[in-house]
Amino acid sequence: MKWLALALVAVTALVAAVMVGPAGYSALESLRALAGRADPATVAIVRDLRVPRALLAFLVGGSLAVAGAALQALVRNPLADPYLLGLSGGAGLGAVGAIALHLGGAWALPACAFLGALLAVALVYRLALVTGSILDARVLLLGGVVVGAFAASLMAAIMVVSPAAELRNALLWLLGGFGNASWQAVLVFGAYAVLPLAALYLASRPLDLLTLGEEPARYLGADVERVKRLVYVAASLLTAAAVAVSGIIGFVGLVVPHAIRLLWGHLHRSLLPAAFLLGGTLLVAADALARTVIAPVELPVGVVTSLVGVPVFVLLVRRWTR
């Protein structure tokens, strides 16, 4: 029953997102265009811009929520979110580097952001292994903060030194948005995300055990080290790709897993798919708001998720502590 409701809400959000937009067609006109019964210009706007944008927002929102849920279990810290582990700093550095070096080409900026994120992830991973062959969750957290701060400083230094006036636009890109959504982006991201999402889902049981603590998890038969590495790598790969296609979108990966835990319980077998659906739904709704609230001007979607996410988070915490 819960699943049906959640799926229904997700589908409703997707359809609604396709029906609204700054172009000013009525909801009915948009649906007709979706079915191909409108003039070519309207059909193109609905089919080639709105539909891929809604799908990409859904996939990214779902991926961020799943990555956040898995990382919260891994480091056993409710404040963990997909960007905590230095990823956002690395991605920002990559994006700013691409613009400062005048790298042309349609995919230069996302590709550099992706590489920057992976570099930060690898560095944090290496730091966390410093105590030997054991991936230390505390060092992982600290390393993430430190590497993120380091990357952010490098980014600021480049922005001061570089003569490229366009760098301020890189900051706007970093705030998050789906301005570059296309069918191509949906297919690339969708095909890419399948593997890490499946890996995280298959790790549901050991993740349940991990939330009890590493020692108990080990006694209960989990291969703790292997699971930690798998979860860390899969969640990071997922987030790095999300950053590459849409910039840094906060709060979805932090708030959605907590909301699902409150509504659904703590078992990852249902927590992860439910987080995927709710995360996707929320980001689709946030993007629809970002596109339409002050049209023709568009808000960065990261601004909308934070504006909505913070009050929701406060409500959740109040309910939690009661």
């Binding site: 210009a41 709105r50 349609a106 706007l172 948005g177 069918w183 568009e298 808000l299 960065p300």
Partner: protein
């Protein structure tokens, strides 16, 4: 007209109530309402915006310039003036080390603390708002008074006003509709707050984003597609080729390759070169339309 009259009355009234001004330059207020504390024409001027640097050279105050920003690239003579770095959030120590008696800034909220620090050091500052074509004559006359080049500045301002008025009255109904794109992801377009919207209008076209009040704002490709400009004008030099990005292919002007870069610093700021900008833009619009 009423405003100009009011301005003239204020200018007449000010020395009367100020009482301590010298006849050579007079006490003036800048565009943020700050008193310009200068008792004689400035001999050493630091200009912290490319538009005022260009203006100072145009009115013959170039020899008095002892500092400029790293963005000041016109006229070519500006290159021989030492750079003090950025103009917004400037390095005050570097500015002061040029020993200026006047610092000219762009009027922005971020420069308030700079003005306060210059005040404390006893260095006069003038903040000028130079965003629109109409801002130019007032700024020219003011800088002329501050640098003792009033005759040339006033005649330049009068010449500019006459040409602008005649360009405006000769303006025909726009034939083509254009979008001015600054950046591709997120798409950032020029709005009515920028002088470029009027440049485009005087060249016989209409900016489809002239309902956006800001100088520039992020928008969506859906909005650009729906507003369906005949042509896209690209600003800046590192915007990647739009035609290679699949989502931009929804825009008719991109599909039909009616995308044209606007090169040249005359499109970056309002200046006396604006009439050249209008003429070259009109020619380019005609050329692209014939494709």
């Amino acid at each position: 007209m009423r405003f100009r009259l009011l301005g003239a009355m204020l200018a007449l009234a000010l020395p009367a109530c100020g009482g301590r001004t010298t006849p050579s330059s007079g006490t003036s207020l800048d565009d943020v309402g700050h008193r310009i504390a200068l008792t004689q024409p400035a001999r050493r001027v630091v200009s912290l915006s490319p538009s005022t640097t260009e203006l100072l050279f145009a009115i013959g105050a170039g020899p008095a310039l002892v500092g400029r920003t790293r963005w000041c690239d016109y006229p070519p003579d500006a290159a021989s003036v030492p750079s003090v770095g950025d103009g917004l959030d400037p390095n005050v120590e570097l500015v002061v080390s040029r020993r200026p008696d006047l610092v000219v800034l762009y009027a922005s909220a971020g420069n308030q603390s700079v003005i306060a620090r210059l005040d404390a050091l006893g260095i006069a500052s003038a903040s000028l708002k130079l965003d629109r074509l109409d801002d130019l004559p007032r700024a020219t006359r003011l800088l002329g008074r501050l640098t003792g080049t009033s005759p040339r500045a006033d005649s330049l301002a009068a010449w500019y006003q006459t040409r602008l008025d005649s360009a405006r009255s000769a303006r025909a109904a726009p034939v083509r509709r254009v979008a001015l794109v600054v950046w591709d992801n997120p798409p950032i377009v020029i709005g009515a707050g920028s002088f470029l919207t009027e440049v485009v209008a005087l060249a016989g076209a209409r900016n489809v984003f002239d309902d956006v009040a800001q100088p520039s704002a992020p928008t969506g490709i859906e909005t650009i597609t729906a507003r369906d400009p005949d042509m896209i004008l690209l600003l800046g030099d590192s915007v990647p080729s739009l035609g290679r990005r699949p989502e931009w292919r929804s825009v008719r002007a991109v599909r039909e390759r009616r995308v044209m870069p606007l090169k040249g610093s005359e499109f970056e700021r309002p200046s006396f070169r604006v009439f050249d900008a209008i003429r070259s833009l009109r020619a380019s619009l005609a050329a692209v339309a014939q494709r």
